[in-house]
């Protein structure tokens, strides 16, 4: 094992990109889980993957091509006024078949398909870092404003209608933010790793945390810790990053079963 790799400047930008996503995706995942829309992370990631792959075929970086598919998914969801996981299951199917068909019919399809599934974090450059930082800033500005009304809509589902509130504003803002988050996540961490990062930390935190504030902190702590472990393991053992992250998150989920809420 070459420990010098961990301090190689070549991997600093990729590490930073993944670190930002390991904070953001669990926070988005918490709100998706309370809305019972956790499958959104996978559905939007698949759509992002499909358009990311189409973009790659035309020489467009995944991190720019992927948001188009995810935003289209968010727009479709808003258009059909759908709540729950059904619409996201349809996105998984549409995204998967598109990805497979594009991969099968483009010259570099197989290689590109693998790159998308495995994750391209180690190839993240300044474009990826810029997009990720912008996304982080947008999330920082959006989440504090939309979280409270989104949670209220889950706990008191008819409050918005009874008070004639313009609820579409915060629901659409959040859906768009999730779409962008999953698109950037799929284009950097990898499709399944982005989903796992939005799904597993909230899964653990919801079971263990005593309240919502701790749930937020715990999910971010799980996200960052598992990300750092996966980054080091994948680098030292020369493994693809995406599967390594999913493996670490899966182990974390299993280990968390031994922890009881106090």
């Amino acid at each position: 094992m070459n420990f010098d790799l961990l301090f190689d400047p070549l991997f600093r930008t990729p590490f930073l990109v993944g670190l930002i996503m390991s904070v953001l995706l669990p926070l988005l995942g918490n709100l998706l889980r309370i809305r019972d829309e956790w499958l959104a992370a996978l559905g939007l990631a698949y759509l992002a993957g499909a358009t990311g792959l189409i973009g790659l075929a035309f020489g467009i970086p995944t991190v720019l091509g992927a948001p188009l598919g995810a935003l289209a998914g968010a727009a479709i969801k808003a258009f059909v006024h759908s709540h729950g996981n059904t619409i996201y299951a349809m996105m998984v199917l549409a995204g998967w078949c598109t990805t497979m068909l594009v991969a099968a019919n483009s010259p570099l399809g197989d290689v590109m398909g693998h790159a998308l599934i495995d994750g391209q974090l180690y190839f993240a450059g300044n474009v990826h870092l810029t997009v990720t930082v912008v996304l982080g800033v947008v999330a920082l500005a959006t989440l504090p404003r939309v979280s409270a009304p989104l949670i209220r809509a889950c706990l008191l589902p008819r409050h918005e209608l009874a008070n004639r509130l313009p609820a579409w504003r915060w629901h659409l803002s959040f859906d768009a933010l999730v779409a962008l988050g999953m698109a950037v996540g799929a284009g950097t961490l990898g499709l399944m790793a982005a989903f796992a990062m939005a799904f597993v930390p909230p899964l653990i935190a919801f079971r263990i945390a005593r309240n919502w504030r701790r749930c937020q902190w715990l999910s971010v702590a799980v996200g960052v810790t598992t990300y750092v472990v996966a980054f080091v393991v994948a680098l030292l053992l020369d493994q693809p990053f995406g599967p390594a992250l999913v493996a670490v998150l899966t182990v974390a989920a299993l280990l968390s079963l031994a922890v009881r809420r106090r």
């Binding site: 889980r33 019972d36 209220r152 706990l155 008070n163 919502w212």
Partner: protein, 191 residues
């Protein structure tokens, strides 16, 4: 001068067809109004119509401009996982204007998905009453409540300390004795 918050005029309401009506009444600020009637008569549907959640087939519901509503439904949302403690629940329900009743104190540090049905019912009542909404709708508030909680709720609804003079409360119940002890007037909607 009394301010009318809600005026219901010859209202016929339901979902695919009318369930209840025609019914006429009004609710003025500072009043606690009860609607009593047997199960299935359409009391909850009437509240839904007032809160824009049911179809109106005839008559009118006129709300004061900008009226704010807090609504405790008969079936509250109890999600499979709710990692919120009682304080957070009240905060998201915007029910932090008044100090919570003593009866709630020992439950507020617990996760709300660990509360019993009766405890959650009482918390939900306070989530509607503890805020600044001008009109509070309570749908069968005594369901699942033990005697101590029902007494505590009665006390809250009787006293003026919970901002009663600044708002109105409309309570639907099949429990006439409960309503007669707390309401300024009780309307019988047996159909």
């Amino acid at each position: 001068m009394s301010v009318t918050l809600l005026e219901v005029e010859a209202l016929e309401t339901g979902y695919s067809a009318p369930i209840i009506g025609p019914i006429t009444f009004s609710v003025e600020r500072g009043h606690v109004v009860g609607l009593v009637g047997p199960n299935g008569v359409g009391k909850s549907t009437l509240l839904k119509a007032i809160a824009d959640n049911a179809q109106i087939f005839g008559g009118t519901v006129t709300r004061k401009d900008g009226l704010t509503i807090a609504w405790m439904e008969q079936q509250q949302a109890r999600l499979p996982e709710m990692p919120f403690d009682g304080w957070e629940y009240l905060s998201y329900a915007q029910a932090t204007r008044h100090a919570p009743p003593e009866r709630l104190a020992s439950w507020l540090d617990q996760r709300i998905d660990s509360l019993s049905g009766g405890q959650f019912q009482f918390l939900s009542c306070w989530a509607a009453l503890g805020g600044s909404a001008e009109l509070v709708l309570l749908d069968e508030p005594t369901n699942n409540l033990d005697d101590a909680s029902a007494d505590a709720l009665r006390t809250i609804l009787r006293r003026d300390g919970a901002g009663r003079s600044n708002r109105a409360v409309l309570i639907v119940s099949h429990d006439q004795a409960f309503l007669e002890g707390i309401c300024d007037r009780v309307l019988d909607i047996r159909g």
